[in-house]
């Protein structure tokens, strides 16, 4: 499903040469896998996730999604891929505070033009962290994506809620969804079917 060949990403810096976040990374992920990406801060995990989720462009190398070279996608095409192929789960949930929980879940549907009139009055700020993340997951699943990308989904949760969220992800994976999760927590990473360790912009072990 995902194939990265010699993937590089360099962030431009003033005066300096630029910061290389990814230094020629090779990776392939099959459909239905549950992959945990771990590594120290600044090793390029989030950069990798952003590229896999069509939020960011690689500076070099190739990223093939379902056999198509993502490097050739235009901005609207990338938006369309984010809308229909990828679901994002964020560490800080990234829910819109002024919208109700249901409206947050409905948001991706709106961009696909399948909005519904229902209302769940509860504001995300009134929910617990675990509940918020469940809303976040529901939102990520709203358009039935093929790939679920989770960036530290348990980072802001206590261990009990964290475990519950990972179990939820495992359930979804068991249902056939491909999941790529970035995490610091080695314990949680072990619950994935495969662990990829990153260091200094390359894969250390897989």
């Amino acid at each position: 499903m995902i194939k990265c060949v010699n993937l590089r990403k360099t962030y431009p810096l003033k005066k300096l040469q630029g910061y290389p976040a990814l230094k020629g990374l090779d990776l392939s992920i099959e459909a239905g896998e549950f992959v945990a990406v771990t590594g120290p801060s600044g090793c390029g995990k989030s950069t990798l996730l952003n590229i896999l989720g069509f939020l960011d462009d690689p500076s070099g190398g190739n990223y093939f999604f379902k056999g198509r070279d993502a490097g050739s996608f235009s901005d609207p095409e990338r938006s369309s891929m984010r809308l229909s192929e990828v679901g994002f789960i964020f560490q800080s949930f990234n829910l819109l505070p002024r919208f109700s929980a249901l409206d947050n879940v409905r948001l991706p549907m709106l961009y696909k033009g399948v909005g519904s009139g229902g209302k769940a009055e509860q504001n995300p700020l009134e929910l617990s962290g675990g509940e918020r993340q469940r809303v976040g997951i529901a939102r990520a699943l709203a358009n039935s994506p093929a790939l679920l990308l989770a960036d530290e989904p348990t980072g802001n949760l206590d261990s009990r809620n964290g475990l519950e969220i990972i179990s939820l992800l495992k359930e979804l994976n068991a249902g056939g969804l491909t999941v790529v999760m970035v995490t610091h927590d080695q314990g949680l990473a072990k619950m994935a079917s495969r662990i990829i360790k990153m260091k200094d912009g390359v894969i250390e072990s897989r």
């Binding site: 990234n94 033009g113 909005g115």
Partner: protein, 425 residues
């Protein structure tokens, strides 16, 4: 994203920032009030001009003398001594036989007396062509004929005012009558002898003016129409024409030939006076426009104030949109991450700004309709001509201002990098 959802989000934002929204509404509303006011003035002006020209005919030209008071140099004063004469009018008639109307007229103010009744009236010397002007329709007795003209006969016609068929609602009309009108209404002067100026005349006809709906006077006050006593122009010239100027009314038949005849008539007249005549050859359309100049200046002033107010409102909207975008960068990032295109983001902010314009416009319509009702109740006839489409145009202008003002901020919002926006705190 569906428009209904964008509208909902926009209304939500406006409601949650009440003071900010109110201030923006206010400046837009002032602009809309000015637009409504000037639209009403423009409409009223055009309506009156068109109505007057429709009744008069669009091909009318007036040839007049520029008077002594309008001169400044000694050369010009000398030129004033050369006057348009009756012979000039006859020559024009002979040179341009195809013209439907060549009607010379001389006007003077004298005393009209009958028995003990005396009244200062304006008397016009006319030819038989005068009746072709088209807005006198009822003659009791007879009109002035060629025999009267050839023999300098002391005969006269009196003009009686017509009333309304049905008084239009938008027009406030003061139904007063002057002493002369009252007298001729209550005394049948047909075939009686009256004194006009220093001489006695026989009243050979009473002309009843058309109802005011069909009288250009109703729509526009053009000089020279107010003469209520008509006598043969030859008689006028001999008995009271000493200082009066000859004015020639021409009808070319249609609007397209006015310019052609203006220069032709001017040349023909000047050639009879070695180019020494201080002439004014004007189409009635131009005369009406000159008469309307004051009103037009007022209108433009209001329009400029309106434009400035709406511009200020537009800047307000731009400011609000920029502030909204800064406070919602993270939201933009989230929306982009879950699949919103740049177009979606841009449309969202544009729709919000257009909503601001729309609500401001509605407030402006409420304010201006109240003001217009008030002015109309005080007898401002222009204000009574407010039309159903004017609020529509004004609101559209406000919405369009919102759209224009938000274009740049919305474009900026759509260009935000999704990752940067997501990290924004």
């Amino acid at each position: 994203m569906r428009i209904s959802e964008s509208l909902r989000t926009g209304a939500f934002e406006i409601f949650h920032h009440k003071v900010r929204s109110f201030l923006t509404f206010f400046s837009i509303a002032i602009g809309v009030v000015s637009i409504m006011y000037s639209l009403t003035m423009i409409y009223s002006m055009n309506f009156r001009t068109k109505k007057a020209l429709d009744i008069l005919g669009h091909g009318r030209i007036k040839i007049g003398q520029r008077g002594y008071s309008q001169t400044s140099t000694s050369m010009e004063k000398k030129e004033v001594n050369d006057r348009i004469t009756l012979e000039d009018a006859q020559a024009l008639r002979a040179n341009f036989p195809e013209l439907p109307l060549v009607s010379p007229i001389m006007v003077n103010g004298v005393t009209f007396s009958h028995g003990y009744f005396r009244h200062w009236v304006s008397v016009a010397g006319i030819t038989t062509e005068w009746k072709k002007r088209g807005w006198i329709y009822k003659v009791k007795g007879r009109f002035i004929n060629q025999y009267d003209l050839d023999n300098y006969d002391r005969v006269c016609l009196l003009i009686q005012d017509g009333g309304w068929f049905k008084k239009p609602q938008w027009m406030k009309y003061y139904d007063w009558m002057d002493g002369f009108q009252k007298y001729i209404k209550h005394h049948d002067l047909l075939n009686k002898t009256v004194q006009v100026g220093d001489n006695l005349y026989t009243v050979v006809g009473i002309l009843e003016s058309p109802p005011l709906e069909k009288n250009p006077k109703t729509f526009l006050d053009l000089e020279g129409w107010e003469s209520k006593v008509l006598i043969p122009i030859t008689t006028f010239h001999r008995l009271m024409g000493g200082g009066a100027n000859v004015e020639i009314n021409i009808d070319t038949g249609k609007a397209s030939t006015v310019e052609f005849y203006k220069s032709g008539l001017n040349k023909a007249l000047q050639s009879r006076h070695s180019g020494q005549l201080r002439l004014e050859v004007k189409g009635f359309g131009d005369i009406i426009k000159t008469k309307m100049a004051d009103k037009r200046r007022d209108m433009y002033t209001v329009l400029i104030i309106g434009a400035i107010a709406i511009l200020a409102g537009g800047i307000g909207i731009m400011n609000v949109t920029l502030a909204t975008i800064y406070s919602r960068i993270k939201e933009i990032g989230i929306r982009r991450a879950i699949g919103a295109t740049r177009g979606d983001i841009m449309a969202q902010f544009l729709i919000e700004a257009m909503l601001l314009g729309f609500f401001g416009g509605l407030a402006g319509i409420l304010m201006s309709m109240t003001g217009i009702q008030y002015l109309a109740s005080k007898g401002d006839t222009d204000m009574m001509m407010v039309q159903w489409w004017m609020p529509l145009v004004a609101v559209l202008a406000a919405v369009f201002t919102g759209f224009l003002a938000a274009l740049y901020p919305a474009y900026q919002a759509s260009r935000l990098d999704p990752i940067e926006a997501l990290r924004y705190e």
